[in-house]
Assembly symmetry: C2
């Protein structure tokens, strides 16, 4: 494990100017590049010098409440924030992030650099002088698989190859569990409740070989387009940490490129494992380029949205040729996964007729309209194998869209939804025959008692391909609070086996989220994902809970804030009533005040009546608690005498 | 069902002044007394003129998206807000609410009016001229059961008596289901998914006799002190709607009487079914009086807190006599349920020694300290039968406190917790022998996979006495967001059978909640409770979801806001990006814009391709969906031709 070599500031190039309006404003918010409080970036090194896995190390203060002051070890946490929180990195969003995977891709010698963009649309945009001011100045040309080659991680995995990406992921997921286990074998911090895994099989240690096996089995995917070498590899699968996705993107009514890049860096700061760019407004192509070049996490898109923009919103005018060009355009920009609504079949559409909320997937409704207008199956379905050919030439993963997901509690788990899921299962098999990675999108709106059925059916229909759900929202009656209605469902489906949870912000159903909404959505979903990891019994998941609880009990206020998902908010809430620095070491807060703080009283009890004696007592409890207590009462045991 | 006779304003007496500083400021926030948007107070009449059960009726606008405009029936919802939202009521918090149960209590002829307060402390406070400025001017004297009589609802229920309280509750819980069933038999709004009840037995209709049976069985309680005649009766039990409690109260460091009354009226506006006054600061007695006199919902307290104040925070100095006087003092003020930590036994205390967070219940820690200091069982345990005698003289219900609940994920479901639960089961049987009503408090902090065990053990140990839990929080890593970490657990335990959920606000663990925090906590818990009702299959629970979803799909924006739990926030979020009134009838929002609104596209599909034909098709699907679709494709069915 290494730490950054130099503490150089990251804002060195932020004040320089160019003639471009975007470049002029192309700074990153100072709030995004500051390390989180008491945190530093550390790197776990792999088998080769260029495998350096970033983690965040949170420092703790010593315990001073007990007789013998005790050090509290730093806590290592999974870190999605990329170089933005590394003070030694130079951040300049006009240059993008360094291409850390470049050598790995080159070494495989199965790709070639193209002489120019392949897509007609991409070429046209690049050549348009009116767009110069918006364009990201990428110096390198895109890559593609050599003729006849397949460059997916699934393809490598099935050949028994452990890629650097797989090793990177193993180190990242493992979080040095083994080392910490031996350090803390006797330590209470190591304690964890047994999980209930619903058939997940999470090993004690995540090895590169385990990663390879899971990918080969199709049970996990590594979204990692060869044209997104800036990516820090991550994995999505039920036997790994539950991941979360944050959506962003402008619409015709709102937002600019800069705002979207800003939302991306903000989202990953708080824990987004992937980002979907769902832009549907102006300059989608250019917005995406800026996002991909600056993103250390996988980027997903719904190519249909851009295709529809190209035909000015007239769904009937969509064609396979246009769509195909859009796939290639986006694949060459480096998009890591595509939502493809190929499961919406012509004969499914009538099944939605009696629904309360019809079709609520944007992609699903567009495809349904197209199918009916043309009286035929969608080009996504009829050209699915050609799509696979494109996916494997760049290693874009499928996120098979649930175009017919329920949009209300009323429509949950209906025939339309499950009919589409069966089709998605068939498409999964086809994609797998092409060695293309697949995950499956899921609902939506589902009351609690029907959530489990979703997970079970998905595992069955799709042969354990990773599930990626939106929520689900467990009730429809709280617009303005759908981050909460959906986190309740998300935590449950994550527990049952869902691999990635797509966040929902408080603005859902009402408007486009702003930066605050993005943060609220991300933190809410980190809670859901972590609750699921705990419930499944993911090894070491409870370590952070244990550390925070211990800090709380010992009135280490700063540690309590810093170990939490959002130190800034925790500190601000505390300071609202007790702003003074002295209150940060006080043995109470304004919630109960000093006399009524139960933890203070417990400490006093322990101080006074000897915790050791209490402990000894507890250890002997096997003899039979009741009997024993009876005896103590009769004998007037030492235990109850003051020390 | 009746509506208020006159639309008189409620603020008539708000500007008059008296010499008292409190009375001068004794107004209620205008935001609290305004009816919610598109809502009016209606009353369901019972078998006698003075049984008038308040409900809120939300009016909807007609559907205009389909060919034939269609009326949308008003929706009736459970209403906890009391007279504050009745424009015909005169609200003056210096006078308190009218004593609507007075006649019912008098008619039973088993109580007598006292000539003065019985508690020594109550007398002293009443006589103190320095407190005059703080005192609520109650004109009536307290009542108590006549010698040898038992005035609990449980006592009546076991004798086969259906009290007016029980009838009131039946009407309130039933929400006119029968009538609505026949009205909407064919209507899609009637549709509801089957529930999974985990052994709950919720009938199709709630009758007064069913209420009586459930109370007699001990499976539900009606907290209704005879000295709180202002109360609108409600019930807590697993076969009724899941309830929520909001805590308020000052601490030594924060808040005034007026603020607490304000939080109470604010809390019930948003849906608090009961309020606990957990004040530990100055003037607890007077604060409580103001709250009870102005509260239409049951008030709970932890008498131990005030007792500890009386001994200046020195736990060891507490005595049975002092505690007994406090119980009587509070019972005569009208407190409806008491949290009593009688389950903390001396021999349980060592079981907490190895915990990460020791004892986190304030009451539990106080009692543990007392027990150890005196080397004996607590006076709560040793005098439990005498406490029962007091409870039955006023009909105060027990909320048996879980003094040893876990305060961290690490400590969940441990021996200390379950040992206390067994004691609570024994105490339940004793209380029941006295015909005293009982509910049981529960944790706390529990990871998802261990929640079910809590509910199962509680039902077993306590013979189905209602469970009342705080959350539980499913992870410890998100201080600042514990309303969310706990709502995830609350929704689940509510589904499994918990009868009431105690809210947690965003300030939990960090400070005392302000008014905004109270609202956020209440709405979050309304979500959890409703999600549980849906999952259990509570009849008619889904009606509100269905209505809101339909409004959403039909772009009835105002209806969508108004049918939600918090119309103000929903409207504000929408207006952030599209503030114009015209946007309230637009067939899109800023989230997707007009071209990408899936619901708009679905509407277009239905308009264009004849929803009738689509429906017919869907009805014929029994023949075999796949086969049929095949046939359509071959035959070029009418279905897919434009109309």
């Amino acid at each position: 494990m290494t730490t950054p070599a130099s503490p150089a500031t990251s804002s060195s190039s932020k004040d320089s100017k160019t003639g471009h309006f975007l470049a002029e404003k192309a700074t990153v918010d100072r709030a995004v590049i500051a390390p989180l409080p008491a945190s530093r970036k550390v790197y776990i090194e792999g088998s080769r010098a260029d495998i350096r896995v970033p983690m965040r190390e949170i420092t703790q203060t010593p315990t001073t409440t007990s007789d013998t002051p005790e050090e509290n070890p730093p806590l290592l946490v999974y870190d999605t924030s990329g170089l933005y929180t590394d003070p030694s990195a130079e951040i300049d969003i006009r240059k993008g992030l360094p291409a850390l995977r470049r050598a790995w891709i080159d070494e495989r010698q199965d790709t070639e650099q193209l002489e120019r963009l392949s897509s007609e649309y991409g070429q046209r945009r690049a050549a348009d002088p009116l767009l110069a001011a918006l364009q990201f100045e990428l110096k390198r040309l895109p890559r593609r698989a050599k003729a006849g080659r397949n460059v997916t991680q699934l393809h490598y995995a099935r050949q028994g190859i452990i890629t650097p990406e797989m090793e990177y992921i193993a180190l990242r997921e493992n979080q040095q569990r083994q080392q910490l286990r031996s350090q803390h074998a006797e330590h209470e911090m190591a304690h964890q409740h047994p999980g209930q895994s619903f058939g997940a099989a999470i090993p004690d240690d995540i090895t590169p070989e385990f990663v390879r096996q899971e990918v080969a089995r199709g049970r996990a995917i590594i979204p990692a387009n060869i044209n997104h070498p800036e990516l820090e590899p991550m994995i999505i699968g039920r036997n790994f940490l539950v991941k979360i996705n944050g959506n962003l993107g402008n619409s015709a009514l709102s937002s600019s490129i800069e705002e979207e890049v800003d939302k991306m860096t903000w989202g990953i700061r708080w824990g987004a494992d992937t980002i979907m760019d769902l832009s549907t407004g102006k300059n989608i192509h250019e917005t995406r380029e800026w996002i991909v070049r600056n993103s250390p996490v996988p980027i997903g898109t719904v190519p249909l949205y851009q295709a529809l923009e190209k035909v000015k919103g007239v769904a009937e005018d969509l064609t396979w040729e246009l769509f195909r060009d859009t796939l290639i355009e986006q694949a060459e920009q480096g998009v890591d996964y595509f939502t493809i609504h190929a499961g919406v079949r012509l004969h499914h559409v009538p099944l939605t007729a009696e629904r309360t909320t019809g079709i609520v997937s944007r992609g699903g409704s567009i495809i349904a309209k197209w199918c009916l207008a043309h009286h035929q199956e969608s080009f996504l379905y009829t050209h699915f194998e050609e799509i696979c050919e494109i996916m494997k030439a760049y290693d874009v993963s499928f996120s098979l869209g649930d175009g017919l997901r329920p949009g209300s509690i009323r429509d949950a788990n209906d025939e339309a939804q499950f009919a589409e899921l069966e089709t998605l299962g068939e498409l999964t098999q086809i994609a797998w025959r092409h060695d293309v990675q697949v995950m499956i999108e899921g609902p939506g709106h589902v009351p609690m008692q029907l959530i489990r059925e979703n997970m079970t059916k998905q595992l069955e229909c799709c042969d354990e391909a990773p599930f990626y759900t939106l929520g689900p929202l467990v009730t429809d009656i709280a617009p303005g609070y759908d981050h909460i209605t959906s986190a309740i469902g998300a935590a449950q489906i994550g527990w049952y086996g869902c691999a990635m949870l797509c966040y929902v912000t408080p603005k859902e159903h009402l408007g486009l989220p702003n930066k605050d909404d993005v943060k609220t959505g991300i933190i809410t979903y980190k809670i859901a994902a972590h609750a699921a990891d705990l419930a499944k019994g993911h090894p070491a998941a409870q370590r952070r809970d244990n550390a925070l609880s211990k800090a709380r009990f010992e009135f280490r206020w700063e540690d309590q804030f810093n170990l939490g998902l959002d130190p800034d908010t925790a500190r601000a809430f505390h300071d609202e009533t007790l702003p003074k620095e002295s209150a940060k070491v006080a043995h109470f807060c304004s919630m109960c005040g000093p006399k009524f703080c139960s933890m203070k009283i417990t400490q006093e009890v322990r101080d006074r009546y000897s915790q050791k004696a209490l402990k000894r007592q507890a250890e002997q409890r096997d003899e039979g608690m009741r009997e024993q207590a009876q005896r103590f009462k009769q004998e007037g045991s030492e235990l109850y005498k003051e020390v």
